[in-house]
């Protein structure tokens, strides 16, 4: 299929679908706040600019009545439950709006004992997809504007939530661009792969947006901020950049939920999710582990079997 035909095909998501989800979220959020079942709901409010959305913690029914869900609701809200962002939530049970990928992050945080299921009221969304980092168009979800992660999403339908918002519309199968890119890089000769990543990492400005936006980067002191001894150089230069991205990918191996927030928030357009996906793929092959919407007691690197593969060890 040529590019033009692909564009013409579109995603065909009706705005009515988003309206229905928005209404469902509003009524449920208002209900649980009124009942006093939760002290706050983390959701999305309309942004200042047209067809924008911003994450928000709402505590009153009036505010809850303004919650929305639109293709611009890209953020993974589970971030606000971690200790890295402590102090922004009131105590007590918290309601949270979660897409499928956010649910996997919530499950991962539960598995790491960072949050408790009993402290949450999860409003799951039957999610058709959200926009990519540089969204084109008028706030509609089209094949041109949909996020790469959503093109090959396996988590459209939420599982194990307290309330499900919306019904999933018909979704066209889209070409898995990210999987194709991953396969292309893996097929490169080793020296070419190094050159590719060297170029990508050289753009990094070490703004640490990828770390700040990641629900799993909740350490109160990051290894990469430490000096004496310094593990990773902290200035935006080639050696430190490469080390930082390798360390980041390694620390997320077996934990990453695949929400691709790191890649979305990257101002230098570094394809960080490719690293995450490569690690996820490897851990699936080696230890049959996949991020899921149900909490798992231990990640693949926190457990072992006596007969694990050791063909690489002499």
């Amino acid at each position: 299929m040529n590019a033009k035909a692909q564009k013409a095909k579109g995603c065909g998501i009706e705005p009515a679908y988003y309206d229905a989800v928005t209404q469902a979220i509003r009524s449920e959020a208002v209900k649980v706040l009124k009942e006093g079942a939760v002290s706050a709901v983390i959701g999305y409010l309309p942004g200042r600019r047209k067809s924008a959305a911003v994450p928000a913690v709402v505590t009153t029914e009036e505010e809850a009545g303004r919650l929305i869900f639109s293709p611009a609701c890209v953020n993974n809200l589970s971030l606000y439950l971690t200790k890295a962002k402590k102090g922004i939530l009131p105590g007590g049970k918290i309601g949270i709006v979660a897409k499928g990928c956010d649910l996997r992050a919530l499950a991962g945080l539960m598995g790491e004992s960072q949050i408790k299921r009993d402290d949450l009221f999860i409003i799951g969304i039957n999610c058709a997809g959200v926009q990519g980092a540089v969204a084109a168009g008028n706030g509609q979800l089209t094949e041109a504007s949909i996020a790469k992660k959503c093109r090959e999403c396996t988590a459209h339908t939420p599982e194990g939530v307290d309330f499900v918002a919306g019904t999933l519309p018909h979704l066209d199968g889209l070409t898995p661009l990210e999987a194709e890119e991953l396969a292309r890089i893996e097929a490169m000769p080793q020296a070419e792969r190094w050159a590719y990543w060297k170029e990508q990492f050289s753009r990094c400005i070490r703004c640490m947006a990828c770390r700040q936006v990641c629900p799993f980067c909740y350490c109160e002191q990051c290894l990469c901020d430490k000096n004496r001894p310094q593990a990773v150089e902290s200035s935006p230069r080639p050696a430190g950049n490469t080390a930082w991205h390798i360390v980041r990918a390694m620390h997320l191996a077996g934990r990453c939920a695949g929400c691709a927030e790191c890649e979305r928030s990257c101002p230098m357009d570094i394809p960080l999710n490719l690293l995450n996906r490569r690690m996820a793929q490897e851990l699936k092959e080696l230890y049959d582990y996949e991020a899921s919407m149900a909490p798992q007691e231990k990640g693949p690197l926190n457990q072992y079997k006596e007969d694990d593969d050791q063909s690489f060890i002499k």
């Binding site: 792969r193 190094w194 050159a195 230069r237 690293l275 490897e282 457990q303 694990d308 002499k314």
Partner: protein, 167 residues
């Protein structure tokens, strides 16, 4: 008394991260048994392979190592019961990551060497050293490090010549 030393054009730096209970004792045994092995290897002692962070390996490569060896107790022999089992999974994942980023895995060797295996230590170290010698210096990470120290763009022929003279 000593075997004749062969002169090589390139002497690789090999950093060995070893566990204190098995491989360090194994290397010690090789020494007390007067076995000969390449002096290129620098041994760093850790409590356990489970303590060896992938960051150490990166750091070694960045700071000039041409090859890295990670060695510890055989599975089931860990002094801390499970340290090497955890390390095994971690390094399997780390190898995949390095490979994806484009690092030649022939420069990175993992092994199990027990306190009784002085001979195996000699064999592992010799094999890695000779393999890395054949591959030449590890340029990739060192180039990054050099670029790190170089603060201006190479805009003039003089700067270019100066830069070339340090690489």
């Amino acid at each position: 008394m000593h075997a004749e030393q062969v002169k090589h054009d390139f002497e690789p730096k090999v950093v060995a991260f070893v566990c204190t209970w098995c491989t360090y004792a194994g290397a010690d045994l090789a020494g007390t048994s007067r076995m000969q092995y390449p002096p290129n290897v620098r041994v760093l002692k850790f409590p356990c392979t489970g303590r060896i962070d992938p960051v150490f390996i990166l750091r070694a490569f960045q700071k000039g190592a041409d090859g890295v060896l990670v060695s510890g107790c055989h599975p089931g022999d860990c002094h801390y019961m499970a340290g090497n089992f955890h390390a095994r999974r971690r390094f399997a994942a780390f190898r995949a990551l390095l490979d994806f980023v484009g690092v030649d895995l022939n420069r990175l060797q993992f092994s199990w060497v027990s306190a009784a295996e002085g001979g195996k230590w000699v064999e592992v170290v010799t094999e890695l050293t000779e393999r890395v010698r054949g591959m030449g210096p590890m340029k990739e990470f060192k180039e990054l490090e050099l670029e790190e120290q170089w603060s201006a763009s190479l805009s003039t022929p003089e700067l270019k010549a100066a830069y070339d003279s340090i690489t």
